[in-house]
């Protein structure tokens, strides 16, 4: 059989079993189910080497050549399915480019010039659309989905954007660059548009979207981690509510203690001088000699007389600020109610921005600064405890203002 006859036989075989092949292609698995009806067709397709029998499971699968042929034929159709805008724009570009080539070869320069202008405009529009779509997605990702604070919503937005990015990337993947290269190969202006400008933008978009995918995946991982941690916390609390006194098994008693529970017991580093160590004698002697030799620093005092003349000054009345007023109110309250008032308890009346320490110090300062005859009306008390190690330190936990 000649090669021509073999080729014709193969193409006829394709046409005869077209439906079976396309169904297998569309199924995604590329497998042809072996039934009684398909038995003859499969035999014929195997003879024509259009399908292969898998060595491992014996399944009938479409040959890679047939798959590639269908991939190529359905490219534009699938591109339209993924992104109607891109698909249609590219179809328009191909059409205009072909018309331009035709009109240029027929020598109608006016037409070709108009067609080239239109083509340039369309390429610009497509590039602009692609870039702005990619940049808008990137802005969304970079802005961490704006003001959305709910974890669940953020995860949903993340998933949605990820699907969108994948869709655009698949669309870009389906653009038949070879066809555009073919059309534009013989014309310098076309090459500039279809072999330089458009591929550059497509590459730029791929770059942006690739980065966006990386960022989105990282963000998704973190969001899922946060959600899992919150779930674990809630699970444990709920479980403890249902089983009061529950404790996990003693992992520290196992032969192989998990590293997580093998954290070291704190060692408190201490240092003592070896005063009886003879080798240290020289060092200690030098220290002592050094101490004796150390003279008090010379003080060079210069006295500059300060004028004691008091110039006449206008009397200024200082207004009490809001903070002082609020502090004094606490003292009034103590007198009015004739009971002890806790500084922490009345912290709620402190002006905004004043932290608790400042508030307590203000109470003490007011007490210390008041006139003697006023001060005798009050007594300050500091409940707290002495430090367990440095018993010279007293940790006050509150300031109690009591009537004297």
């Amino acid at each position: 059989m000649s090669s021509t006859e073999t080729g014709i036989r193969a193409l006829k075989g394709l046409a005869k079993h077209a439906e079976l092949l396309v169904v297998a292609y569309e199924s995604g698995s590329r497998l042809i189910p072996e039934t009684q009806e398909s038995e003859g067709a499969i035999r014929e397709l195997l003879q024509l080497r259009l399908v292969d029998r898998q060595a491992d499971d014996g399944a009938i699968r479409l040959n890679t050549v047939v798959t590639a042929l269908l991939d190529h034929s359905l490219k534009t159709q699938r591109l339209k399915m993924f992104s109607a805008d891109i698909g249609e724009a590219l179809e328009g570009l191909e059409f205009l480019a072909q018309r331009y080539v035709q009109s240029k070869s027929s020598g109608v320069s006016g037409d070709s010039s108009k067609l080239l202008d239109e083509l340039g405009g369309n390429v610009f529009e497509l590039c602009d659309g692609l870039l702005s779509q990619a940049q808008s997605i990137w802005r969304q990702v970079e802005g961490d989905f704006g003001a959305v604070s709910q974890l669940e919503t953020k995860m949903a937005l993340n998933r949605n954007t990820l699907a969108k990015v994948n869709r655009i990337l698949q669309s870009l993947e389906l653009i038949d660059m070879a066809a555009l290269y073919r059309i534009s190969s013989r014309d310098r202006d076309l090459r500039k548009l279809l072999q330089v400008q458009l591929p550059e933008v497509i590459e730029q978009c791929r770059q942006i979207l690739g980065d966006a995918i990386g960022r989105l995946n990282k963000m998704m991982f973190r969001l899922e981690q946060l959600a899992t941690q919150a779930t674990r916390v809630n699970q444990l609390v709920d479980y403890c509510n249902l089983h009061p006194g529950w404790q996990p098994q003693d992992y520290s008693g196992q032969l192989d203690v998990p590293t997580l529970f093998a954290a070291v017991k704190p060692i408190r580093p201490t240092a003592n001088a070896h005063i009886r160590d003879e080798s240290m004698e020289l060092v200690f002697t030098e220290i002592l000699e050094g101490l004796r030799k150390e003279l008090p620093p010379d003080e060079d005092q210069r006295v500059e007389p300060i004028s004691t003349d008091i110039k006449e000054q206008a009397q200024v009345t200082l207004d009490w600020g809001g903070f002082k007023q609020v502090v004094r109110q606490v003292f009034f309250r103590c007198l009015e109610e004739d009971r002890e008032v806790s500084g922490l308890e009345c912290y709620t009346s402190a002006p905004d921005g004043v932290d608790v320490e400042l508030w307590l110090y203000a109470l003490m300062a007011e007490y210390n600064a008041m006139k003697e005859e006023d001060r005798v009306l009050f007594k300050l008390d500091f409940p707290g405890e002495f430090d367990s190690v440095f018993d010279g330190n007293f940790h006050a936990q509150d300031v109690l203002l009591c009537p004297a």
Partner: protein, 214 residues
């Protein structure tokens, strides 16, 4: 600070049972982020039967025993474990309370900043949360005789600072930063979730509750 000082400071901190994260000690954390330096510290610790260990995602570093080959060491590990487990429930209750007060779906994370005033306001507006706080202070890790919510909050925050979970902002005193030690707690929770049957029983209990007739 030179490298030698940094090295000894980090080793001493780790041996004292400390956790090193970028929020508690940025310099030390940066030091440990360099592979060669981290391996230097690890080698040094291994000579004395310890090793350098990191929580999930290397959020915090701490020292752990390489082997439990003596009774003393086993005793140490046991007491550490007991301490960790005993504080687990109160810490989780606190995390849940905090998330509810701050209306956040996520629990506290290393680097998060807590404002005492904001928390106090949130607790003031939600009596149920104040009751939860009071419950938390009735026993265990946060035990306190204080009755006022503000005092109880102060006790809890002070305890968390003491345990190394929070850092008190020295400038204001009422701002706190969460440290990487929380990541250790989350690791423990994950471990328990993997090895114990907590969630499954929870689900069963919930189903049982739903099926009860009114």
């Amino acid at each position: 600070m030179n490298t030698e000082n940094q090295f000894s400071r980090i080793v001493e901190h780790l041996l004292a049972g400390g956790f090193i994260c970028e929020h508690s000690d940025e310099l030390a954390y940066e030091y440990l982020s360099v592979d060669t330096r981290r391996s230097d510290i690890d080698s040094y610790l291994r000579k004395i039967g310890r090793c350098l260990y990191a929580t999930e995602g290397s959020v915090a570093f701490y020292a752990a025993y390489t082997s439990i080959d003596s009774n003393d060491r086993r005793q140490d590990v046991r007491s550490q474990f007991r301490e960790t487990i005993n504080s687990l429930e109160p810490l989780c209750r606190w995390l849940r309370l905090l998330a509810s007060a701050l209306q956040s779906e996520a629990t506290l994370q290393p680097g998060d900043v807590l404002r005492q005033g904001e928390l106090l306001n949130a607790l003031g507006e939600a009596p149920a949360l104040s009751e939860d706080l009071a419950g938390l202070c009735r026993s265990g890790l946060f035990y306190s005789k204080k009755l006022a919510t503000s005092e109880q909050l102060e006790v809890v925050l002070a305890k968390l600072v003491d345990q190394g979970y929070l850092l008190r902002n020295t400038a204001t005193g009422s701002l706190f930063t969460a440290t990487g030690k929380w990541s250790y707690l989350y690791d423990v929770l994950e471990f328990i979730h993997t090895h114990e049957t907590i969630s499954a029983e929870n689900d069963e209990s919930r189903e049982e509750q739903v099926d009860l007739p009114l």
